[in-house]
Symmetry: C2
Subunit: 118 residues, 2 copies
Amino acid sequence: MECQAQEFKHEYKKEMRAVQDAMYVLNGKWKIPIISAICYYNKRRFSDIMKDVEGISNRMLSKELKELEMNQIVNRIVLNTQPITVQYELTQHGLTLQGIINNLTDWGVRHRLKITGK
Amino acid sequence: MECQAQEFKHEYKKEMRAVQDAMYVLNGKWKIPIISAICYYNKRRFSDIMKDVEGISNRMLSKELKELEMNQIVNRIVLNTQPITVQYELTQHGLTLQGIINNLTDWGVRHRLKITGK
DNA sequence: CAGTATCCAAAGGGATACTG
DNA sequence: CAGTATCCCTTTGGATACTG
């Protein structure tokens, strides 16, 4: 019993860390909207994402994309145009976020209904 | 075609808002760890959550619990002891977050493996 | 077009001390 | 026990201007 409690505790801490890892990647105001936009269009350019994600500044978009790239969520593809254009796409790993984003979306709809009644 | 694009755009914006609503509720360093702790023990007291969620201060725990209560994620139950004790439990609405948290946990494990290799 | 650089305001959050 | 209050540093993020 004590032993199992220890076991639980250990698992619990590991799960805690995992969920915090996940949230760390997705945290902030813009990460999920950016991922959603890229996912929705499959491939998407910097200036287009700016239009998709309402209210974001180029500074923030740049910063967030860099972080997402570091976390292997998006790929950055430079095209040989003049002037250069850059496309972003989700990696295989990034695509595995789709289910979570869909769940969050559904929950968000129910939550808004619950809180505001519409 | 144009019309359907408009339709898509409209849906897309609604979904964007929904996912942002959800993230707004869960954002920050502590929300999900707190929810997880309460969920794990079913009912949990303030001082116990302090121990469960490593590193949190009483100030932060108080603030976050208040927000979760406002968003109808947790119920606050004052017990008639001396001195008073307070229990927190998830609401029905709060319980609907379990699936999302589990998904985030699973994803977090895979992500850590991907990034750190362990 | 796809960013960087700089500056600044607001929010987040830790440490400590205090209260009913 | 379950918080509040205060102080203060850090992080986030907006506005504007600039560059290859």
